[in-house]
């Protein structure tokens, strides 16, 4: 059935209320089950052997001693994982990333795996596997990897007919930037570098694989998309999709890092070989070394403006490393760089580069934070040169409805202008600053995605509703989706219960990523509810014996229209459900949709910092997030997304980075030296939700989860600049870097 996706303004009855989430009690009592929290009888412990070298040929793997060890039930190498992908490049890269095929491409790359009766035996077995490596020269820095004499990571990647580490160069933009720069009164050119960061979810990857000898199997896994995992795992292992049932556990954080398989195909392969369940849990060390961090980058920005504040031209050249396998993160960075602004002449060029590092995965608004750091820092420099406030300079150039975005599409109604006006009015801007304190602001943008979605809505005979969805719940969406179904049906939130179904229960659902969970499953839930309402009206028609088009559904009940039916009291959903066995059986609604037009989401952040000029130590004093949510279905969870994204951005700005040695090995694969913010590092994070409805969602919902990580890097860079007068161009802006900048500035003056 076709459904109308357009937004209609209305008075909401339950949408916007701060209800308790259905999984709350399980999560506060320890009852909720995450990836590592289940076991199967006879299960084996899986463990992975990983390359100690950043780049090496694997000339021999001798697993014989490991196989003979008592208690070892299966040992696998790439020999056990033939390429069944039909030479599909994307899939073969996944296969090779899961387990090395003749060469180790990064420190930590999986080389072999075992399944044994307990952890001690599995660890002992790994020690007995003899791998012969021939070390190759390595490169881990994005700029070094682009040099002509750099070691080549993938020999099928070519530029100008020669093997290269540059896998893609893409440009976006419009107008004539040369002409634009010629018109400018001031031009600022600056280059920036951002180091690699990791999503840092507290729950390591974990799964329990259980294969049967008839080719069927079950996988319990912590994932952002069990349907996607089923597609990949069945492809890589040559299984029929319908025979592999993947159940998503509760997820202990993902942020994009759990949208890819890492060890799951290995667990399935081990289980198949041993014909026993295999539980494979990654250690924290492995998570940092061998999952999917984000890119490290190097960017050149050039912005020209007139004295009145109009930007006449803007360019960005971005260089993003994708790890050892080609991807398009640089392309995405080039798309987002100037998305906040209405520019006549703009050109962005993204380079995607290979290095001997793990395969990059999405990390919350992937590629946008790094580009925004560079652009938003430079915006302040331009504002300073033309003696305009950073805020007014942004207001002057902000994109609006009808603007052509720098990456192509024309914007509908958007929130960047409103968030900037809200910044102007916000009391944070008038708070007094003390010595060594400074205030900065920055803007951010994210596209948000729709995608394939499938939902079932089943009404029990007692009138309570089971909503089965296929998008896993990262932060409370089960509540938001129940609210939407309840709103559409006209019943109370307490009568709807949302449940995440396994892959056997629904059609395909794309991952919970791209801020699409509430948007897409919400849309499908609304449409499924509308389908159910059609059935409810038909049942009422039967119960009353009147034509169905004389029946309306209002506020959770069927009402007979017309004076001639004024004797018929309304039939509630509960009453109709109670009679359903006699009127046609179970009442349900169902929806499959490729949700589209998730609506772009803009934000402006304000940040106050205090810098100790003698040590470079930096503290966040005050932080405010102002973001457009379209429609906040559950304000607590929208605020939570704003605050969580900001906290990750703060960590990225101040302390988080992957530290590689000269030897190409990762030095800080743990939470001790990969420093994410702790509770005492942050103040309360104030939030302001703006609602500029998305015209392409029935309730106006936009994706909200990602944008909040985009502004903090530059907001903090700009604040530090105000606090101690130095412009930071390298994240993280750790104390040694800030102190060095202060001392260099003092020496220069």
């Amino acid at each position: 059935m076709e459904h109308d996706t357009s937004y209609r303004e209305r008075e909401f009855k339950v949408i916007g209320s701060r209800v308790n989430r259905p999984d709350g009690i399980d999560k506060v009592t320890g009852r909720a089950k995450y990836g590592a929290d289940t076991s199967a009888p006879g299960q084996l412990v899986g463990k992975v052997l990983r390359s100690p070298h950043p780049h090496a040929l694997i000339t021999k793997i001798d697993t014989s001693a490991a196989e003979k060890l008592a208690g070892v039930k299966a040992v696998i190498t790439s020999a056990d994982l033939p390429d069944l992908t039909g030479k599909n490049r994307g899939m073969t890269d996944i296969l090779e990333n899961c387990m090395a095929r003749g060469r180790a491409l990064y420190h930590g790359h999986a080389v072999a795996a075992v399944a044994a009766i307990d952890e001690a035996t599995a660890k002992q077995a790994l020690k007995l596997i003899k791998v012969t490596y021939k070390k190759l020269p390595h490169v881990t820095d994005v700029d070094e990897a682009m040099k002509p004499d750099a070691p080549v990571i993938q020999d099928f990647v070519m530029q100008d007919g020669k093997p290269s580490n540059i896998s893609k160069i893409t440009s976006f933009g419009h107008g004539d930037v040369e002409a634009g720069f010629a018109e400018a009164d001031v031009i600022v050119e600056k280059s920036y570098k951002t180091e690699q960061t990791h999503q840092g979810y507290i729950e390591p990857h974990a799964c329990l694989a259980n294969m049967s000898s008839d080719g069927s199997g079950e996988l319990w896994v912590t994932t952002q998309g069990h349907f996607g995992f089923r597609v990949v795992c069945s492809t890589l292992l040559g299984l029929d999709m319908a025979k592999l049932k993947v159940t998503a556990s509760e997820i202990g954080g993902g942020f994009g890092g759990k949208t890819h398989v890492w060890t799951e195909p290995l667990a399935l392969a081990l289980s198949r070989k041993a014909n026993r369940p295999v539980k494979l849990v990654m250690s924290r060390d492995e998570v940092f070394k061998a999952t999917g961090p984000t890119c490290s980058t190097s960017t050149d920005i050039k912005i020209g403006a007139k004295k009145d504040g109009t930007i006449t031209a803007a360019t960005a050249v971005l260089r993003y490393q994708n790890g050892a396998f080609p991807a398009t993160w640089g392309l995405v960075g080039a798309m987002t760089a100037y998305a906040c602004y209405d520019l006549k002449n703009v050109k962005t060029t993204g380079h995607d580069v290979l290095v001997n590092r793990p395969k990059v995965a999405a990390y919350r608004a992937p590629s946008a934070p790094m580009a925004a750091f560079a652009v938003e820092s430079t915006m302040d420099l331009v504002a300073e040169k033309i003696r305009m406030s950073p805020l007014n300079f942004r207001i002057k150039n902000a994109a609006k409805e009808g603007s052509q975005s720098s990456y192509g599409p024309v914007y509908g109604p958007i929130g960047i202008g409103p968030t900037l006006e809200a910044v102007k009015k916000h009391p944070h801007m008038r708070a007094k600053l003390k010595k060594n304190q400074g205030r900065g602001m920055a803007c951010g943008f994210w596209f948000n995605f729709g995608g394939q979605t499938c939902v079932d809505l089943n009404i029990g005979v007692d009138g309570t509703v089971s909503l089965t969805i296929g998008t896993i719940d990262v932060g409370g969406s089960r509540a938001s989706l129940a609210l939407m179904a309840a709103e559409e049906l006209g019943i109370s939130y307490e009568d709807v219960r949302t449940h995440v179904g396994d892959t056997a229960s629904l059609g395909h659902n794309d991952m919970t990523e791209g801020s699409r969970g509430t948007f897409s499953s919400g849309m499908a839930a609304i449409f499924a509810a509308r389908d159910a309402i059609v059935v409810l009206r038909e049942r009422a028609a039967k119960m009353w014996d009147i034509p169905v088009d004389e029946i309306e559904w209002i506020d959770g009940e069927a009402r007979a229209l017309g004076v001639e039916h004024s004797n018929l009291p309304p039939l509630s959903l509960k009453e109709i459900a109670a009679k359903s066995p006699n009127t046609g059986g179970p009442i349900a609604g169902h929806n499959e949709v490729v949700a589209d037009n998730a609506g772009v989401s803009f934000a402006s952040h304000i940040c106050d910092v205090e810098v100790d000029p003698e040590t470079g130590g930096t503290k966040i004093i005050r932080y405010t997030v102002i973001q457009d949510a379209g429609k906040a279905i559950h304000p607590d969870y929208v605020e939570g997304q704003f605050q969580g994204g900001a906290a990750q951005g703060i960590g990225w700005a101040l302390n988080e980075e992957y530290i590689y040695g000269e030897d190409g090995c990762l030095q800080n694969a743990g939470f001790l030296d990969y420093r994410i913010p702790v509770c005492s590092d942050l103040p309360f994070i104030d939030t302001q939700i703006l609602e500029i409805p998305n015209p392409n969602h029935p309730y106006g919902v936009r994706g909200v989860g990602e944008t909040s990580i985009v502004p903090p890097l530059a907001a903090i860079g700009n604040a530090v600049s105000q606090a101690v007068g130095v412009r930071m161009t390298h994240t993280p802006m750790s104390p040694p870097r800030i102190l060095k900048a202060i001392e260099d500035a003092a020496a220069a003056s």
Binding site: R18, I202, E250, C679
Partner: protein
């Protein structure tokens, strides 16, 4: 497995389990006793997701050997419910949306309970420093601190 039999008290109940001498209490609680509320986030004492009380003191169970639990009393998140009712902290965490993915929540609840027992009226700073051993990646800690403040306020009124 050559193991040792350990007799201990968990959440007020006598419990016996056998584990290898080099196994952590975290692994013993999860795999031998079946209490999966304690989580391994890092295994090296840097994240607090495995927090328990050991004879009333807050500890990371990943840094205690299973055999060290002999004769001691252990408290986990599963022990917060009393007489079938949620602890005030558990209620406030739900009410204030102090959890998103929830993986860090058991650790925070145990740590916050100890914090409020030792300091029933903490300042915001005392809460933040007292919970610095518990990492959260989802919330930015804002609603967690507010939930602890709200719980403290109510507990001072009810004395529980």
């Amino acid at each position: 497995m050559t193991g040792v039999l350990v007799s201990t008290t968990v959440n007020g109940d006598p419990v016996q389990f056998a584990c290898p001498t080099n196994e952590s209490l975290l692994d013993a609680l999860r795999n031998r006793v079946g209490l999966t509320g304690v989580k391994e986030g890092c295994g090296t004492g840097d994240c607090g997701a495995c927090s328990i009380t050991l004879d009333g003191r807050l500890a990371c169970s990943c840094l205690v050997l299973g055999v060290e639990a002999e004769g001691r009393t252990i408290g986990t998140v599963e022990g917060l419910v009393e007489d079938g009712k949620l602890h005030t902290l558990q209620e406030k965490f739900i009410e204030h949306a102090a959890l998103q993915c929830g993986i860090c929540t058991p650790g925070f609840l145990v740590a916050a309970k100890v914090l409020l027992e030792n300091n029933p009226n903490p300042t915001e700073d005392q809460i933040r420093y007292g919970l610095a051993g518990n990492l959260c990646r989802c919330t930015g800690y804002d609603k967690i601190v507010k939930a602890v403040q709200a719980a403290g306020k109510e507990m001072r009124k009810k004395k529980r």
